[in-house]
């Protein structure tokens, strides 16, 4: 018995979310009185693999091979499934990011394992195996019982703390054993944004809605985000109007995020918007309408015009940061 956690890498590096995932897996392993094993796929330096060992895993497996630079769902699924069987895993954990969401359901079929996605807490119980997960777009939570012997969990990003636990892990570097001719995904072009804080990784998000009035008014909002080390986001009307890119849209049909702090500026907070941000730990709302639903979700609010309030906020943050 063991717990297997798949840790994705980005150009050979892990991120804070990888370590959160490993911390979570180690805690699940403790609940099951077993040990956790991390699996990395693609080229990652040994030093980087060792980093995973700070968060409680007993074993780290690095699979490398030529065709692994491109995410091919079939190949990756087979590697994870074969490792899970070899390690006798009864729980397999992935991130609830794009990659995790692509692989977890395929793994579910391959391992005949029930799946709980977007889980934000440790299992509620082990026997039966019950998970606490988001449902009805954040308007409710479901207690989901997984009936199979192997269970798959995708962990919501930014939902578990880092816990340092040194367990002197063994590191195994193994070559790819799955037939790579299975890979059918061919990448023709890659566009990457560099230097920007990713919305789904960000601990602070500053978001603008229709109350920003025009695409030309975003300057102070971006300045506030920069000062706070935050990512920028927007509501659906703003991305539909083309004021900001679609990749910034947070809400039911956009990105679902759970930062520590979400600052909603000129956003009324329709149900569909709240569905994407309601898991934020703190919500601050700035809106001219004191009856806007966003104030029901917020812990702190300012009733006022975004354009008038923003400069003062920027000034105050600058002052605090320069202390």
């Amino acid at each position: 018995m063991s717990v297997l956690v798949f840790t994705e890498n980005w150009d050979g590096k892990f991120k804070k979310s990888s370590f959160e995932l490993v911390s979570y897996a180690s805690s699940v392993a403790e609940m099951l009185n077993t040990t956790a094993c991390a699996l990395s796929i693609g080229k990652v330096d040994k030093g980087e693999l060792e980093e995973l060992g700070l968060y409680g895993v007993k074993k780290i497996i690095g699979v490398t091979g030529d065709s692994l630079d491109v995410l091919d769902n079939q190949i990756y699924t087979r590697i994870i499934a074969e490792t899970a069987v070899k390690e006798g895993a009864t729980v397999v954990i992935l991130s609830n990011n794009n990659t995790g969401k692509a692989l977890a359901p395929r793994l579910s079929v391959r391992l005949r394992a029930g799946i709980g996605t977007g889980v934000s807490k440790l299992p509620v119980s082990i026997n039966p195996f019950v998970l606490y997960k988001r449902a009805y777009s954040g308007n409710a939570y479901a207690l989901l019982t997984i009936k199979t012997g192997i269970r798959i969990i995708t962990l919501a990003q930014n939902s578990y703390e880092l816990i340092e636990r040194r367990n002197d892990p063994v590191i195994e570097e193994v070559p790819l054993q799955v037939d790579s001719s299975l890979a059918k995904t061919r990448v023709q072009e890659v566009q990457k944004q560099t230097g920007k804080i990713l919305l789904t990784d960000a601990e602070i998000v500053v978001s603008g809605g229709r109350g920003m009035k025009s695409p030309d008014n975003w300057g102070p909002l971006i300045e506030l985000a920069d000062l706070l080390g935050a990512a920028t986001a927007c509501s659906r009307p703003v991305s539909d109007e083309g004021w900001r890119g679609h990749d910034e849209h947070t809400g039911q049909t956009g990105k679902i995020i759970a930062p520590n702090l979400y600052i909603a500026i000129g956003i009324s907070g329709a149900t569909q918007h709240l569905a994407g941000v309601s898991s934020s730990k703190y919500i601050v709302a700035i809106n001219t309408d004191k009856d806007a639903p966003i104030f029901e979700a917020a812990q702190y609010g300012i009733v006022g015009d975004a354009m008038k309030v923003l400069p003062g906020l920027v000034e105050s943050v600058r002052e605090i940061k320069s202390r």
């Binding site: 799946i115 409710a140 009936k147 917020a298 702190y300 300012i302």
Partner: protein
């Protein structure tokens, strides 16, 4: 080329959900059922591709797992422009059960592109598409925000962390689509609504399939503490609260 759009119906997205039966079941009283918002977008994109003669997309079929009561929602999809529909006559018990039924639909007919949603707005599972692909041993692409066909080749935009890839795949394949696939959902016109009445909905009885999960109960989110209002003239107070009280900056 034939496109299959896997569709689910969900409570209208502004519904304030309530539960019955010891919080194990959704209270369906007064609920307005709609096409899952992402499915509407994938249907729209499928129809745009069909309208473009250069793509050689010949038909768009809807697949749905649900009882007869869901037919009005299927008719809506037909009114928007789908050619026909297949309904598997069963309660969608869990994701694996639904994927197993959809796999059977695909085995009975041939499709080149299978479009599935990134998640339904009710169970927020995002699992059926990937399961379907693995059951059929087909390639799959997730987080698809664009789908084009040029000279018989399918080009797919896939969202990755911090960027986007353009990838190709041989057909048939499963695309799990999300935001960006189409701009505005297409709306049914009067002519479409009239035509939808006579479009075929094939009803299949379910195959035996397992369920891997079950709902033990639902909980409502904890109510948040009341909002603390700060004088717009003193933004500094807000920043100090965030730093000293909430400790988030």
């Amino acid at each position: 080329m034939k496109i299959l759009v896997c569709m689910s119906q969900v409570p209208d997205t502004t519904t304030r959900v309530k539960f019955v039966d010891d919080n194990k079941k959704l209270d369906t009283n007064g609920i307005q059922w709609v096409i899952n918002p992402w499915d509407e977008l994938s249907l729209t994109r499928a129809l745009e591709l069909k309208d473009d003669a250069a793509t050689e997309v010949k038909s768009v079929t809807i697949a749905h797992v649900g009882h007869a009561g869901t037919e009005p929602t299927i008719r809506k999809a037909l009114a928007i422009g789908a050619d026909d529909a297949v309904r598997v006559n069963a309660e969608p018990a869990d994701a694996f059960f639904v994927a197993s039924q959809l796999a059977e639909v695909v085995r009975n007919d041939k499709f080149d592109i299978l479009l599935c949603l990134i998640e339904s707005s009710d169970h927020n599972g995002s699992t059926v598409g990937g399961m379907l692909a693995e059951l059929l041993e087909l390639p799959s692409i997730s987080a698809v925000s664009g789908l084009n066909i040029r000279d018989g080749q399918v080009l797919i935009n896939r969202e990755i962390d911090g960027g986007r890839e353009t990838v190709t795949l041989p057909t048939p394949f499963v695309a799990v689509v999300q935001k960006g696939i189409a701009k505005e959902p297409r709306i049914a016109a009067m002519r479409g609504i009239m035509m939808a009445r006579t479009k075929p909905i094939k009803v299949l009885e379910p195959i035996a399939a397992e369920t891997y999960t079950e709902i033990a109960g639902y909980e409502m989110p904890k109510p948040r503490t009341a909002c603390r209002f700060i004088d717009p003239a003193s933004p500094k107070q807000l920043i100090e609260l965030l730093q000293q009280e909430a400790k988030v900056i």
